[in-house]
């Protein structure tokens, strides 16, 4: 018997609308209003300026380790802006711009990276998960949120973020597989920023694209220019609409670049060339969008100053906050406090009150007479 090709054959498409030289494919230009375009740009600029500020705050010791997003603003905002507030956004740990769009106040993000638990707490009506550190583990959660939506008949789409490195993790494959089998409304947004700390994409996968990994699970996969906010928007809109109409999940690979450090604890000069970084700086998502808006006469005067003032005010509010109450460490271990936890909390509370308040210190264990064969202490001999 001869070998025969199986049908259907699969294809992976690449989408670019506004290239790095500012060339626009007007046939593909999305239908965004002037105010929507202005709002998107403002969000990209805020994302960039806050990012730069947070790196400086870390360097000054005013916040802890932080994972900057510089270069990935279009990937995040072009996708997240297609969600409704009632949809779910599931971040990894490098989605500051997407989180700002979803309504996280700047000071909460600062609190998060300063170790204040309130910073990671989504507002009660906010449909976002907190950031997650173990790579790709948030992706099955996204499928679970979508399964719950299907279970209850809620009109909800879930968008989940992760990087190129995450596509090597089992949870990525398991999540795509579950999403495919159950046909649930999830949009998987991979920000392929070329580097998983020091490991380049070519050492992460032998696949030509990340988008094609979707095909194995029976879902559409699309690669987009992740520095082209219009292309990311168009691809995400299509995927979100399809998911909402019952058309199932999609994988979008945003080809982008991490212009900065992996985290503030990283030094990328050790593993990548200046030349490579310069090359990607020429593809900066903000530069080309600025040119696009300039041609449309949509650039606002003084926007940078406005955004910087907003950040400065938030930093001021953040730094005026009292440090977290030490005893809150016991608050959210369990829905209620088990006896052993209460005992530890009380002990710490007593210690914190200090020696002045002698009455509150925990009683030292009393030494009742020993029983039986232990009546004689060996120290007495």
């Amino acid at each position: 018997m001869p070998r025969t090709p199986l049908e259907p054959r699969f294809t992976v498409e690449y989408l670019s609308i506004l290239d790095s030289d500012g060339n626009l494919d007007s046939a593909l230009e999305p239908d965004l209003s002037a105010s929507e375009l202005k709002r998107l740009y403002r969000a990209m600029l805020l994302g960039r300026r806050l990012d730069e500020r947070m790196v400086r705050l870390q360097r000054q010791g005013r916040i802890g380790t932080f994972a900057p997003i510089k270069g990935q603003e279009a990937s995040q905002l072009g996708s997240v802006c297609t969600l409704r507030p009632t949809d779910w956004m599931v971040p990894s740990f490098r989605e500051t711009a997407a989180m700002l769009w979803r309504g996280w106040p700047i000071e909460k993000l600062l609190m998060t990276f300063a170790g204040q638990l309130e910073g990671t707490q989504p507002a009660p009506d906010q449909h976002d998960l907190p950031i997650t550190i173990p790579v790709a583990t948030q992706l099955p959660h996204a499928v679970g949120l979508a399964y719950a939506a299907q279970y209850r008949g809620d009109d909800v789409v879930v968008m989940a973020y992760f990087g190129d490195g995450a596509t090597s993790e089992g949870d990525f494959h398991e999540a795509l597989n579950f999403a495919g089998v159950w046909h649930v409304p999830v949009v998987f947004v991979c920000q392929n920023n070329q580097w998983a700390i020091s490991v380049p994409l070519k050492k992460q996968t032998h696949s030509r694209t990340i988008a094609q990994k979707a095909l194995a699970y029976g879902l559409p996969g699309l690669q987009v220019d992740g520095n082209d906010v219009l292309a990311v928007y168009a691809a995400s809109k299509e995927a979100v609409d399809r998911a909402r109409e019952g058309g199932g999940p999609t994988l979008i690979e945003c080809v982008t670049y991490r212009l900065g450090v992996h985290t503030t604890a990283d030094d990328p000069t050790k593993y990548r060339s200046e030349e490579e970084v310069r090359e990607w700086e020429r593809k900066d998502p903000l530069t080309r969008f600025v040119e696009y808006l300039r041609k449309k006469n949509l650039l606002e005067e003084g926007l940078e100053q406005q955004v910087d003032a907003e950040i400065a005010a938030a930093v001021k509010r953040f730094e005026a906050m009292a440090p977290p109450d030490v005893l809150t460490m016991f608050d959210h271990a369990y829905a209620e406090k088990p006896p052993e936890l209460l005992a530890q909390r009380d002990e710490l509370a007593g210690r914190l009150r200090g020696p002045d308040d002698a009455g509150s210190a925990p009683e030292p264990p009393s030494s009742p007479p020993m029983r039986g064969q232990r009546k004689t202490s060996r120290w007495q001999n």
């Binding site: 638990l117 949120l145 399964y147 959210h332 209620e336 052993e340 232990r374």
Partner: protein
């Protein structure tokens, strides 16, 4: 009261809770059409349909993560591990997500899931399939860990676990599924998590044991009664949070303690219980606490070797005699 098997008691608990609360659903490998590898989910697919009795691909991390996600928006999944040994594939989801989401969301999202299935030594299930898995979980703040020894406890504790707002690890046993016992039929019969039970009253020594080891300790106690040693048996039932009060109360009465556990002893449950008896009841003790544990080696497949690895009735009896200074010469 009705007499039923441990398996039927679990099934009844699931059925009652699924009837009571539309947010409860069952998810795992072979739980639907096949009705569970050990038939705990028998009849549930037929009664509740495929939306609430969900057969999954073979991906423990995946379906545990899916359950965690669904629970964050208010559903109450009961996740079945075909055997708890396979939960190691979902360890990150359980430890880093289920146990920490409530904390890391500042109290915004709790994770009311139950992860259940059999664990511990059974009959020739070999090294990768016979582990006493509770040790991997009770160390983790944020998790509750239950080991129900009787049909009544299986029902009452599973219902409590499903109603609990925290992630609960609920480990059954292959060897107990066919054990019969009295079970209340009242759908509101629930045994609160964190309450130990005195299975047998005695005067001379407290034996702390659960699951198969509790039954073995019971046999040992009956024999020792003939030698004039009166054994009290405490079954913790919930390992975290642990009902230290009941255990300490019993030790204060008997002044001697033996802890029996089926798994390897190194850093096991016996270590923890022995430590807190020492911390809270040192001056009440008339003898050092003894641990009777499985050997610190992988579980052999061969029947004779398997039997030798797990604590025997004789070893339990010897330990009891030792703490009572009643060693036979």
């Amino acid at each position: 009261m009705a007499v039923m098997t441990y398996r039927e008691a679990l099934n009844l608990a699931l059925r009652e809770e699924m009837k009571r609360d539309p947010r409860v659903f069952v998810i795992g490998e072979e739980v639907g059409l096949y009705e569970g590898a050990y038939k705990v989910t028998q009849g549930l697919l037929k009664e509740f349909g495929p939306k609430r009795v969900v057969d999954t691909p073979i991906a423990e991390s995946g379906f545990t993560g899916v359950g965690i996600g669904a629970s964050m928006v208010g559903l109450r999944p009961v996740i079945e591990m075909m055997t708890f040994n396979f939960a190691l594939l979902a360890l990150d989801q359980i430890v880093n997500s289920a146990a920490k989401m409530y904390y890391m969301s500042g109290g915004q999202y709790n994770v009311p899931i139950v992860i259940r299935g059999p664990g511990g030594p059974a009959h020739q299930l070999a090294a990768q399939h016979s582990q006493s898995m509770e040790v991997y979980f009770y160390h983790v703040p944020g998790l509750k860990v239950v080991r129900p020894s009787t049909p009544m406890d299986a029902k009452g504790l599973l219902k409590a676990a499903i109603r609990d707002d925290n992630p609960v690890v609920f480990i059954e046993s292959e060897t107990l599924y066919a054990v019969k016992g009295e079970v209340p039929e009242d759908p509101e019969f629930v045994i609160p998590l964190g309450e130990a039970i005195v299975r047998r009253e005695g005067r001379d020594v407290t034996v702390v044991a659960y699951m198969g080891m509790m039954y073995r300790a019971m046999e040992a106690a009956e024999e020792l009664e003939k030698e004039g040693i009166s054994v009290e048996i405490v079954d913790p039932r919930t390992l975290r949070p642990m009902d230290a009060g009941t255990i300490i109360g019993s030790v204060r009465k008997t002044h001697r303690a033996v802890v029996v556990e089926a798994g390897a002893g190194f850093a096991g449950m016996g270590s923890e219980i022995a430590a807190f008896i020492m911390e809270h009841a040192f001056d009440d003790l008339d003898a050092p606490v003894e641990r009777v544990t499985g050997a610190n080696a992988p579980m052999p497949y061969a029947r004779g070797l398997e039997r030798a690895k797990t604590p025997s009735k004789e070893r339990i009896m010897e330990a009891i005699r030792r703490v009572c200074y009643a060693e036979r010469s």
